[in-house]
Symmetry: C2
Subunit: 119 residues, 2 copies
Amino acid sequence: MNKINVAEKLGSFSEHFTPKVIAEVNGQSLKVVKALGEFVWHSHEDDDELFWVISGNLKMCFRDREVMVGPGEMIVVPRGIEHKPVAEEEVEVVLIEPAGLLNTGDAESELTVHNPERI
Amino acid sequence: MNKINVAEKLGSFSEHFTPKVIAEVNGQSLKVVKALGEFVWHSHEDDDELFWVISGNLKMCFRDREVMVGPGEMIVVPRGIEHKPVAEEEVEVVLIEPAGLLNTGDAESELTVHNPERI
């Protein structure tokens, strides 16, 4: 029951596309991640994924449109929906998703993080 | 799949201790709430509750200690743990908890909100 400072957690690492767990609540994990560049198209068959942007602007691409998500804004990607996050500048995000969710969903690659570090 | 602006949601109402749902992810709700004054001692037998402070300072009282949680900080209250949120100034918070969680847990009173509004 210690408090968790989001900015401090984000300040503790610099690599991109490597989510790190900062909290858990009822089986969902809160993960901090820094993004820069294009991620891969993927979907999560059984799980929703929430992106809460802390700094920067995240472009969330869907097959039929794009949504720009800025600081203090969030977007929920429902299960089964293909998406590709794109960060033209560095973006800091908090993810809310099941503890075991693979970041690349159904598109495993060298970007896949299997066991996100707890920080 | 529209984006959600947290500050805009918080700016759309003024009453205290009335959580309002802004998003849902895998059965958990994100709720915005404004707090001012003392809430009631209560616990949630089966559910964790996460408090993410957006503005102001929230004093989370436990039976054996208190934790001050400031802007950009969060605290997870595990299931079964008695707690009492206290806001000496107005505090804006995002809660992450099961959709149907009663705000007053096992201590129903006039403060209980049975069906939080979706905004």
